[in-house]
């Protein structure tokens, strides 16, 4: 196999695996005569997805919107708190245990509380997305700051730099790859957060669509919703990965950009 062939095969691999998976699923459904209500055939899911494309798209956009809002809040909040935690040992000592404790709470548990406070609608979904995707950002940014090479700090100190200058000239640039690295994880979590909220109790979004379709025993639509979430998740992940490479070329030593 030549070099270009093997590279082409590598790019094709995920699609091949997916195709094999879908075909196997289709054949299993037909072969074992699985009822549609239990596991619909993928071809059936596709057909439903195309037939009901407008509804699916509307609900998807609702979910996308709440997710993005929660995600953006998480970036801002996570960055600020991460910088504070990473830059000051006191803030670190005070907040880190609390953050760990907070992160250990299953986020599904807070959705009903949010409902009581805020009612149904977009707000609980935004907050759930925020709360769940916030943590990895804080931890990563704080780690980036806390692991500055002492030599780098010495260079700044020998020039008589203030703490603020060390933070802006070394700390923040140093933390950027960590921030952008965490965004890939955070965006996936944000989707999980908003869909959980929509599923537990909501009147909008793809989670709600799946829930109500499930209640009508409309398995193909439920599965179409599932696929839609996966596709949105992958797209947003790709966007974050692209932003990461753009913004932190130096961290990859130029390798990945070629």
């Amino acid at each position: 196999m030549t070099d270009s062939q093997s590279r082409a095969l590598q790019t094709a691999m995920p699609w091949l695996v997916m195709a094999v998976f879908l075909v196997a699923w289709e054949l299993a459904c037909v072969g074992f005569r699985i009822q549609e209500i239990i596991l619909p055939r993928p071809s059936k899911v596709m057909i439903v997805a195309i037939e009901r494309f407008d509804i699916l798209l509307r609900f998807c956009l609702e979910t996308l919107w709440t997710t993005m809002l929660g995600f953006l809040l998480a970036i801002v909040g996570g960055l600020v708190l991460g910088l504070a935690v990473g830059a000051s040992p006191f803030v670190y000592a005070g907040l880190y245990p609390l953050l760990i404790a907070f992160n250990a709470i299953p986020k599904v548990a807070i959705v009903p509380i949010l409902m009581i406070w805020l009612g149904v609608g977009a707000t609980p979904a935004v907050i759930t997305a925020f709360v769940i995707s916030f943590f990895p950002i804080v931890v990563n940014v704080a780690t980036g700051l806390a692991t500055i090479e002492p030599e780098m700090r010495d260079v700044m100190r020998s020039l008589g730099a203030t703490r603020y200058e060390i933070l802006t000239k070394v700390g923040i640039p140093r933390a950027m790859p960590y921030l952008f690295g965490s965004l890939k994880i955070a965006i996936t979590l944000a989707f999980i957060g908003s869909v959980i909220s929509e599923t537990v109790g909501g009147n909008r979004g793809i989670g709600f669509l799946m829930l109500s379709a499930g209640a009508r025993n409309d398995a193909p639509t439920t599965f179409a919703g599932l696929f839609a979430i996966a596709i949105m998740g992958i797209l947003m992940y790709a966007v974050c990965a692209m932003v990461e490479r753009r913004m932190t070329r130096w961290a990859f030593r130029g390798e990945m950009v070629g």
Binding site: D154, V155, L159, A161, K169, P173, W250, A251, G254
Partner: protein, 268 residues
């Protein structure tokens, strides 16, 4: 001109300075009882076995490390925090990978007064100066490259430029030519000497190359094995400017041999 034990008006003075890393049983005594005094405008070199505390000494003088005992005095004041007006070329080039070589060299001007305040207004002028400095060490074409696109020796040369750019009155050079081939190194001795003759900064050079020490320094301190103590202080009163040819003079060669013999005793 020879230096006497106590120079009349020392700029940097070390009085029985020692430094131990760590505390209690696990402590490593890196430097013991170092006493030296450096005049303003003097070029001193420190030589000694690896691990004897030379880099530690540099960090003590600049106030990056607090002395365990003894006193470091610069400008008549005891050093308790990092002092201003030093340029330090660390042993490992600590260039910032997110900055181009040019921006790395410009860093001190963004931080040190009075350049800091004028940085925006005089950016173009500063950049031109940095480029000229890079060109003088043979890196004229690499200003826009990132440090990780440079070789080890090129990084070291950029590191040297960063220490020089803000024209500090005290220069701390920790094996600045260590990763270079013999020819580039000898060329940079000339560059260094010319700079020093022009600006007369006070310099402390750590090196393992005795010829380099004799070429550049007014005074050489030889240190013992860890924990390092000063075992020999040798004034070099060869005429300046010294040239590569003068490194083959009998007087020059004799001094190198004398130093080599003294250091050799450390391994006996």
């Amino acid at each position: 001109m020879t230096t006497t034990a106590a120079a009349p008006d020392p700029l940097v003075e070390l009085r029985a300075v020692s430094l131990a890393y760590g505390r209690g049983d696990g402590a490593t005594l890196a430097l013991a009882d170092a006493t030296m005094s450096i005049r303003k405008g003097e070029f001193i070199a420190v030589v000694g076995p690896s691990g004897c505390g030379k880099s530690t000494l540099m960090k003590l003088v600049t106030g990056l490390l607090p002395a365990t005992s003894g006193e470091v005095i610069v400008h008549g004041e005891t050093v308790v925090r990092p002092i201003k007006g030093v340029g330090m070329a660390f042993q490992n080039p600590t260039l910032m990978p997110w900055r181009t070589t040019l921006d790395n060299v410009l860093l001190p001007l963004e931080v040190v007064e009075p350049h800091k305040r004028q940085f925006r207004a005089r950016k173009a002028e500063y950049a031109a100066k940095a480029k000229a400095l890079l060109a003088s060490v043979g890196l004229g074409d690499f200003a826009e490259k990132y440090p990780w696109q440079l070789s080890g020796g090129m990084q070291q040369r950029s590191n040297l430029c960063r220490a020089l750019i803000h024209e500090p009155e005290i220069m701390m050079l920790d094996e600045p030519f260590g990763a270079l081939d013999a020819f580039t190194r000898e060329e940079l001795w000339g560059v260094m000497q010319a700079l020093w003759l022009e600006r007369k900064f006070t310099a402390v050079l750590v090196t393992h190359d005795l010829r380099e020490a004799v070429y550049l320094a007014d005074t050489i301190y030889v240190m013992s094995r860890r924990p390092g103590r000063v075992v020999l202080k040798r004034a070099i009163d060869l005429p300046r400017p010294r040239t590569l040819a003068s490194t083959f003079d009998p007087a020059f060669v004799d001094i190198v041999h004398e130093l080599r013999d003294r250091i050799h005793q450390e391994y006996a």
